[in-house]
Amino acid sequence: MTSFRAILGKDLRLLVRNRGLLVLLVGYPLIVATLVALALQGGERRPSIAFVNNDTSNRTVRVGDRRLGVQDYEARLSDEVDLKHMSPADAEAALRAGRVAAVITIPEGFIGDLQSGIRPPVVTVQPSNRSPIEAQSISRRLESSIYRLNQDLAQTYIKQTLDLVRIVVEGGDVAAFTRSGNILGLEKSDVLVRDLQRSLRADGHAELAAKMDPLLNFIVEAKVNLDLADVAATAIGNPIQLRIPPVPTGREPLSGFGFSGALLVSLALVGVLLGAAGLSSEREENTLVRLRRGLVRLETLIFEKIAFGALVVLAIGAVLLAAVALTTSLTIGRWALWPAAFIAAGLAFAAFGVLVGALARETRTALLAALMLALPLIFLGLFTQSGAASAISEVVPFGPAFRVFQTLIVEPTIDAGRFWMRIGQLLLLTIVFGVAGSIALRRKSAT
């Protein structure tokens, strides 16, 4: 324990003394975090979507006082996403190649179906399976866009129906739902029937006049009930109303996905590079030969380098969290769980770096190798959810760490068992990479 403390103290002192490295260690993750968050957020804000229009009829449907065509749908969707016109085959190829995040298909006869009202037209959205998280977000976005279009249409239909109801009550010219003509209206019918009843009574046909009472009752009842149509239709059109209070100003919007990704990229690089450089520099400075002569056990040295990386990751993670909490709109909570997440992730990142550091002879080589190995694996952890790539991302620290960060930032409720299982997975990976690093270092130093 004394040797562990002494070496850890030495590494921390070297880190603090190296101001350039210190600035780089804090500044670099902040810059990387900002860039990654912006990149992921930007991608989330306006994803590229292939737009396949199979309705080439150029027909429009009259809804109220305006005519709607496929172009109107397209224009509304363009507010949300970046639409790219494609043929069905091109769209499929683009989806497979990951050039678009989803394909939205307008079926043949779309406007015809809309006009007939016999069956609702079906718009198909096919999201990419490359990132279920992104796919979920895009599906939700398109779903809400279609919902808003439907709601606009429903409102127009309701208005048109209510106009018709008003004409039925008050009378007048009708031109809706492919019908036209002049309607007498219930109010005028009421006046006419009452006039007729009075004339019949005056002419001594009281019995005949009395037979018209049910007709008068029907006209009055119908008028009263149709007066309620306005309220009922509004309620059907908006069963639940949504009120969005204005967003407080002065904070940059930041998505949970973007920040989780930014945390992963920046902290993983810090942990991996420190682990790799920490161990390889002992060899480069030739001090490993001194330490290995019984002064420090190899396992202690490996564990010290891993703990050193984890401590720095914890400190930088705390700085990043504080910066995000103070300057962005993202709510950071669960403060009690964050240290566990940072320490577990930091240990696993540094253990990965230590293995690379044990295999490399020089610090520069170790840093370069660590960077080249870590970068693709980090992005694999960010975007992979299925297949062989997913399996790989589970046996390196980056995938599990990303899911831990996401759980803490995005999930409304935390499944404690699942969360601690992920932490356990990170600790297990620390042991695996630590032992591998220890074996590699023993073999390399045996010569």
């Binding site: 030495k10 002192r13 070297l14 400075e285 030969v289 002569r293 019984g294 010569t447």
Partner: protein, 253 residues
Amino acid sequence: MRRMAPTDADVHAQGATPLLRGAGLSKRFRSVAALEDVSIQLERGDAVALLGPNGAGKTTLLRILAGVSTPTQGAVNREERSVSHIGWVPHEPAVYRRLTARENILLFTRLEGVDSPEAETAELLERTDLARFADRPAGDLSTGTLQRLNVALGLAGRPSALLLDEPTATLSPDQVNRLWRWLDELRVRDGLAVLFSTQSVDEAGRYAERMVILNHGRQVFAGTADELVTRHGTPGTSATDAAERAFLNLVDA
């Protein structure tokens, strides 16, 4: 048939229990034999030079005796179980260049488990004439001063034997003299045993009581400088020249 040379262990068989004894040491790196059946021993106050041309196996032997490397065959017996009583001074200075001289020594005295690391650090700085450079980063020290720090770190924990791998290779003549004066003082005063490798027969003759010569991983001589001249020499103009010729006769043979 290969000429059998007496081993250092044979030469030094009499006397007290050795501080350090390597018996039948061999080391192979894949198919290359770096060391073959070498035996050597060190006693308190000894000064032994390990001579040989490049690639003779000097560093390999020192690393095995220091506990940095393990032999393929043979065994190393130390007076104490721990290797800490054997100080190790590698050829390349093994120091943290961003730490000061004082911090380097303090760290290693702590790692050695010394009771009062601060006091021992101050003493080592004084004894190695490093006190005035104590608070300078090791990376800023001159080659000679850095080598002194390298030696000071080898002495952390008060070892009873010090193994030095070509300690004077990068030093100027005056620095070489100062280093040996100081090591002699430690040897005489504290009974420190010194085993050092060198390529200079002159240095070996000047500062060592005995010398062991290695060639192609094999031990070809063990004894004093006089014995080297007597057994393998040809008449020369001076003792140093005679020893030099004897050495060349051996390694060219």
